[in-house]
């Protein structure tokens, strides 16, 4: 009987969350340490899965399947392949660093960590799900804790509005895909929600062309695709730091991944038919997101819009439906996840001390928190796609892939690189260098050891993937091959 490692990864957070709820509310440190322990377990196990995956065999590994409702063909069915293994690892990393960053939460940390872990379980579940019902089940679990996390611990000015907007938007998106999913279930005639079987169902062309937009765009809402990206910047900004890390770092990947897994992989003909629309919309994401980020005055909004832009690259890669683009998207989901987690962590550290995020008021913070400044610079370089770091490793193949489909789109999209560079440099210069205002000079202190550990982990990951891309690209490539085989080797 093999150790059910994937189930342990999926269920550890939620069980830990339940345990945390039992701890008396004044024992805050106990809460924190239990949370850290659970996060460590999840991280170690997900790293184990990532590195033990056998690329030579490829296909789905660490499979577990249990009947849930045989009459309707619903099963609890999990497995990893080259596409979702990095995302599982990403979730583990973000969860771990998120716990470290949230150490300072003093208002009901028990509830905070409990809700955060429900979210984490939902995310893990979606990534490893091989059963469509199970995917939806965990997808919804990942949506609603956001409401509470943002509205209770978020930024007072906009948290209620942002939380409600985000939850409703995401709920709509998921339900739209749900209807599509149900249509697929009934349309396949196989009476099963098993996605591997569904991918061989050979839906008719008209069926696929009709249902693909529902399924793809329903999930892509969570991926932040234009014009349904509106919830994202407000949601990012209003959320407390660890939640923003999760939100931009993992949750948006959830949407993109589900769009890939359910939309593209199960309805390949539909995907080919609609790919031009996705290409255009993703391109808008990339360029428009970068432009808007450039004119923001609130530090966090810059990062929020930059996420919209970078997720556009992911979806651009999806739409290419070729090997390079998909490899790039796979790596970009991971790389951007780590990078944006770092960004939001840094924003949080600055805000906690300065109590403002207006770029005009900040300045000279590298004197007070040099480690943070360096970490942010590294993150900024990744964002710009600077070679030697994971951002380049991810973006380059995407551009290669787009080039093969429509070179002009690649040329337009590359404009965003320059825009990104300029606003990143501007932010680094304005926030971390330059003169520091009087009051900050007195009040602002350095960050804690835990914060530094979290930042270091994130930086090391980005540098490692950047310096040695094969540590990730081979794995992703094997996953991509499988996807392409669904298209008849396109």
């Amino acid at each position: 009987m093999r150790f059910p490692i994937l189930s342990v990864i999926v269920l550890t957070p939620i069980i830990a969350g339940m345990l945390i709820l039992l701890i008396p509310s004044d024992r805050k440190n106990v809460v924190r340490y239990v949370a850290l322990a659970a996060a460590t377990i999840a991280l170690l196990l997900s790293a184990w899965v990532y590195f033990s995956y056998d690329i030579s065999i490829s296909g789905y590994q660490f499979i577990e399947k249990y009947n849930w409702l045989p009459q309707l063909g619903i099963s609890y069915y999990v497995g990893v392949d080259g596409m979702n293994a990095p995302l599982v690892l990403l979730t583990g990393v973000v969860m771990f660093t998120g716990v470290l960053i949230s150490w300072g939460i003093d208002d009901r940390p028990r509830e905070f960590f409990a809700f955060l872990f429900i979210l984490a379980s939902g995310v893990f579940g979606v990534f490893v799900a091989q059963d469509l019902f199970m995917l939806f089940f965990f997808y919804e679990i990942a949506v609603f804790p956001m409401y509470l996390l943002i509205s209770i611990w978020g930024w007072i000015k906009t948290r209620e509005y942002a939380a409600m907007k985000l939850t409703l938007y995401l709920f709509i998106g998921s339900l739209v895909s749900l209807v599509g999913g149900l249509a697929m279930y009934f349309g396949s005639g196989k009476n099963t929600f098993d996605m591997i079987q569904l991918s061989q169902a050979n839906f008719s062309e008209s069926f696929q062309i009709f249902w693909f937009p529902f399924v793809f765009f329903g999930f892509a809402v969570l991926g932040g695709i234009f014009p349904f990206h509106n919830w994202s910047p407000d949601g990012h900004v209003a959320a407390p730091t660890a939640v923003s890390m999760f939100h931009a770092g993992v949750l948006m990947k959830l949407g993109a991944f589900a769009a890939l897994r359910v939309g593209i992989m199960l309805l390949p003909v539909g995907a080919q038919h609609w790919r031009w629309l996705i290409l255009i919309l993703a391109l808008v994401n990339v360029v428009y997101g970068a432009f808007i980020a450039m004119v923001q005055t609130d530090f966090k909004y810059v990062i929020g819009f930059s996420s919209v832009s970078h997720m556009g690259l992911v979806m651009l890669g999806f739409a290419t439906l070729n090997k390079d683009g998909l490899i790039g998207s796979g790596i970009q989901m991971f790389s951007h996840g780590v990078m944006t987690a770092l960004f939001f962590a840094v924003v949080g550290m600055v805000y906690d001390r300065a109590h403002t995020r207006e770029i005009g008021e900040l300045g000279g913070f590298s004197k007070k928190m040099p480690w943070v400044a360096v970490a942010f610079i590294i993150g900024g370089l990744v964002s710009m796609g600077m070679p030697g770091l994971s951002g380049f490793v991810a973006e380059f193949p995407i551009f290669m892939g787009v080039w093969q489909v429509k070179p002009i789109i690649a040329i337009i999209a590359s404009i965003s690189i320059v825009i990104t560079a300029s606003y990143i440099i501007r932010i680094i210069g304005r926030v971390f260098f330059g003169p520091i205002s009087e009051e900050f000079d007195h009040h602002v202190g350095d960050v804690t050891i835990k914060d530094k550990v979290a930042l270091t982990i994130l930086c090391v990951i980005m540098i490692t993937v950047g310096v040695y891309p094969s540590i990730m690209s081979n794995l992703v490539s094997s996953g991509v091959d499988r996807i392409l085989s669904l298209f008849g080797g396109a």
Binding site: W403, P407, I408, V418, S422, G429, S477
Partner: protein, 520 residues
């Protein structure tokens, strides 16, 4: 021993990074420790490159000491290193200049640790460009070199001076200079990036050794945008490559970032910037543009030569008009690098001919020589600035009796820069002129005018600083050049003399590479 010879290039390439990692763990306050660890650490790649030099077989064509390992297999890019005569020369230059620059940086007192780490990372970046035999890897190292230099200028650059940005916002001069440097170069490399993508997509490999034979002979490219003809696409790609490198060299009129960057950079930064970084551009021309685009290069060689001559003449004229000593030296780089480009243009036009080889020899040697003399000149400017806290030529005057040793060194270095026979500058400039004359007679003749003005500005510089009536304010207030500084400049002066008197040791290596590389 076998390990070393098998991996010597990797050792040279990564030892600066390893030293940087070591520095990371050293205490921030121990400035002396940091400086000496860096200096000694820099001598490691230098030592190995000497070893490499002596193990290199000049007569064997092609790349030696090749190593290739898995890097980014999913898109067919590998970690592929190798040297030939051209890159070996550049590697030697880099590994020589870096310790010299570090020694020159001993006077930096603020935030020594990040400074040293950035310098070491910069060295790895530059070495990577020279050693790389994979197009994507080349690009990676090309961009990697930008970031440390940006921060070096931005954080340790000259403190005085203000510039105005669009919108009337005032920023410090060094902020302006570093930003301009970064954005200019990045924008230039954008075209390069797109062209590289196109190549990668079409050939499914980035290995230069393969591309050299595949690309020029290609009859079909994948996914040509907008239905252009193959010729047009290749031309566009050619110009994309050229512009990226032209910005770096710099070729007139893409040189406008250079005076600001060089002037505002800290002394050692300017030394490396002028000494090595500019050579990256020229190297790009030689390693990539000429071999991959022989037809296009031939077609547009005339334009390139024209631009080169403009650089020579205008660079010299601009240098002559400067009051800021450092800016004068900065423009002199434009002037000297113009000769490099002239030589390259000549070779592009008449590839394979004996004259072309001569011109190329001159160009490459000029790269090496200019590296030495520019680094030396910037260093000397830095020496006097540290004492006088001004770079304005009009503030000086008649300093020779006050600081005779400095004066002597300054004159020596200036003469090398000017091209005095017996010193290195003459050899390379002569070769370039000799090689280009049969090919681009008119342009070469015009460049002689440039040489004339070179002499003018050099002598002006010397005169304003050293000769004439002694400026009273410096009496008793200016110290002589010290021992450390003499040690910094000695190897450079030694090489200037040696190459000037007996250039065969280096020309031999260069020549054999040039002969093999461009057979037409």
């Amino acid at each position: 021993m076998g390990f070393i010879t098998n991996n010597i290039l990797s050792i040279i390439l990564f030892s600066p990074t390893v030293v940087a990692l070591v520095l990371l763990f050293l205490p921030q306050g121990g400035k002396k420790l940091l400086r000496w660890v860096t200096l000694l650490g820099c001598l490691i790649p230098f030592g190995f490159s000497l070893l490499l030099w002596f193990s290199f077989k000049a007569d064997t064509p092609g790349f030696q000491f090749e190593t290739q390992t898995l890097w980014y297999g999913a898109i067919s890019s590998s970690f592929h290193l190798g040297v030939d005569g051209l890159s070996l020369t550049m590697v030697l230059l880099t590994t020589l200049l870096t310790p010299v620059a570090i020694l020159a940086s001993f006077s930096i007192t603020e935030r020594v640790k990040p400074y040293m780490i950035l310098f070491l990372l910069l060295e790895t970046g530059m070495l990577g460009v020279f050693l790389s035999l994979d197009l994507l890897l080349f690009f990676v190292f090309w961009e990697v070199g930008l970031v440390p230099m940006y921060f070096l200028i931005n954080q340790w650059g000259s403190e005085k001076g203000e510039r105005e940005l669009w919108g009337g916002r005032k920023v410090s001069a060094r902020t302006y200079a570093s930003f301009k440097f970064m954005i200019y170069t990045m924008a230039g490399s954008l075209g390069l990036l797109l062209a590289i993508q196109m190549i990668g997509v079409s050939f499914r490999t980035y290995d230069l050794t393969k591309l050299f034979s595949l690309f020029p002979a290609v009859t079909q490219l994948a996914n040509i945008p907008l239905n252009l003809s193959l010729e047009t696409v290749k031309t566009i790609a050619f110009w994309a490559f050229v512009i990226a490198f032209a910005i770096k060299v710099p070729v007139w009129p893409f040189h406008t970032w250079l005076p600001d960057a060089h002037t505002e950079a800290p002394t050692a930064g300017s030394m490396i910037l002028a000494g090595v970084l500019l050579k990256l551009g020229a190297y790009g021309f030689l390693r990539l543009v000429l071999p991959l685009y022989p037809q296009e290069a031939h077609l547009y060689a005339g334009a390139l030569a024209f631009l080169a001559v403009m650089g020579i003449i205008f660079g010299a004229l601009a240098a002559y008009g400067q009051d800021d000593f450092k800016r004068l030296v900065a423009y002199s780089s434009v002037n000297h690098m113009g000769f490099v480009v002239l030589g390259i243009a000549a070779a592009a036009y008449a590839a394979g001919s004996k004259d072309a080889v001569l011109a190329l020899n001159g160009a490459v040697l000029q790269m090496f020589n200019h590296g030495l003399s520019a680094a030396a000149m910037f260093f000397l400017v830095g020496v006097i600035y540290e004492r006088a806290h001004t770079r304005n030529l009009n503030d000086f005057g008649g300093l020779f009796p006050l600081i005779p040793v400095y004066g002597g060194i300054l004159i020596f270095t200036s003469m090398a820069s000017l091209g005095l026979p017996g010193l290195n500058g003459f050899v390379s400039e002569f070769l370039v002129v000799r090689g280009s004359w049969p090919i681009f007679t008119v342009f070469t003749a015009l460049s002689m005018i440039g040489l004339f003005f070179t002499g003018a500005y050099i002598l002006k510089g010397i005169k304003k600083v050293l000769h004439g009536p002694t400026n009273e304010q410096w009496v008793g207030h200016i110290t002589e050049i010290n021992l450390r500084e003499i040690i910094v400049i000695s190897p450079l002066m030694f090489l200037m003399l040696w190459i000037g008197v007996w250039p065969a040791w280096i020309l031999g290596v260069i020549n054999s590479a040039m002969q093999v590389l461009f057979k037409g």
